[in-house]
Subunit: 228 residues, 2 copies
DNA sequence: CTAGACACGTGATCC
DNA sequence: TGGATCACGTGTCTA
């Protein structure tokens, strides 16, 4: 029953080989036999043409159905109706999955940016919202006011950064520094009015200082311009 | 041509009403007429049954095709073959979209956790990876070793937290505190070996202390158990 | 008028 | 056996 598809995956084609004695590229040659079956030559020619056309139409439709079966997993039966039914169910499951994944994306984005949905419902109910809207809103760039990188000996680099403070600056700044895969010995972040003062002690060599400064600057810029 | 679907959306059904004179619930009554067409009663009865069965089969297949057309947007033509083709294209576009969104999700997760893909290609090429794998791996819980919340006057609350330090503890901790929508005056984070010492000055009232301590604890636990 | 699309009835096949 | 499925040829309608 259900192993039928595995045993004979080309069900219709096998039927073709059994029943369809005028398949393949032999249609034109067989038009003569159709003429022999109908002695009056006036009406026989369009009839055979219609037969060929209808044959091609059926073949195209079956090929389309076969292609549809190829892109849909979890095919239960090889029926035409079942294939269409499985395709419908699969599309609907893809719709649900897409909504769920987009909800997850929005949840993650709001966690990264706004942090407004912690005490809301456990599973974010705000489905069916375009993810582009969540991306294009609430980007809070980090404005670098001052950046000093100095070597203080003992394989230790001191980084001083003064920047603007917006809603999520602290988190984004931590992300920037974590993204650089540095060994952070001590971090001190102080917020005064709208300014943010950061002092880092990082394990590093003296010759890495200039590269490190460039790295931090570009990392902050990259983080402020998400390429999505 | 292309407005044909809007003018007559029930193309096949209208065809039914014109051509199919034995539709609806009248199949049984019409079996007599089929018997009249074939005088030999022995073979006529199974033939009429087969006719009815085939009619139902065709109707079911058309209904399925109609339902498929309903779940697929951007239908170009009303042809059977075109409907199946549009469904195939739509499923493949959904596949691509799903891969893209999952890549974005993985990218976001890796940004939040590992921070390994900053200097890679701008558009993450690591498609076709299950998102569940990205979720179930690399969860680094924050282990609370000590948590003190004390009131120091002047509408200022001092929070001291000692916890374990793993790869992404600092970022996650900042996320926790940002999620509470507190007014952070000063933050000091120091990492020594595998321990993380955090000192926060928060703007708050004395009577909010116990609630604040509970809030921080639960927030950390909630962040360590993402409900996805 | 021609070409394309559809439903119909029928015989064959499979389980 | 018989119910379900399929391909086929044909008539009909529309663009």
């Amino acid at each position: 029953m259900e192993n039928f598809a595995e045993i004979n995956p080309n069900y219709w084609e096998s039927i073709h080989q059994i029943q369809d004695y005028s398949w393949g590229g032999l249609e034109e040659t067989f038009s003569g036999s159709y003429d022999s079956s109908s002695p009056d030559g006036t009406q026989s020619v369009p009839t055979s043409k219609n037969i060929v056309s209808e044959r091609n139409r059926r073949k195209k439709l079956n090929d389309r159905l076969f292609a549809l079966r190829a892109v849909v997993p979890n095919i239960t039966k090889m029926n035409k109706a079942s294939i269409i039914k499985d395709a419908i169910d699969y599309i609907q499951s893809l719709h649900d999955q897409e909504s769920t994944i987009q909800a997850e994306l929005i949840e993650l984005q709001s966690q990264k940016l706004g942090f407004k949905s912690l005490d809301s419902s456990p599973m974010g109910k705000s489905k069916k919202k375009r993810v582009d809207e969540a991306f294009e809103s609430k980007v809070q760039p980090i404005e670098i006011l001052e950046l000093n990188v100095s070597y203080v000996g003992e394989k230790t680099v001191l980084v001083g950064l003064k920047c603007s403070k917006r809603k999520d600056t602290i988190v984004r700044l931590c992300e920037v520094f974590e993204s650089l895969n540095l060994i952070i010995l001590t971090a001190n972040i102080s917020a005064v009015s709208e300014r943010l003062f950061t002092t880092l002690f990082i394990q590093g060599e003296e010759e890495e200082m200039d590269a490190l400064k460039m790295k931090i600057e570009t990392a902050i810029k990259v983080f402020d311009n998400p390429q999505i």
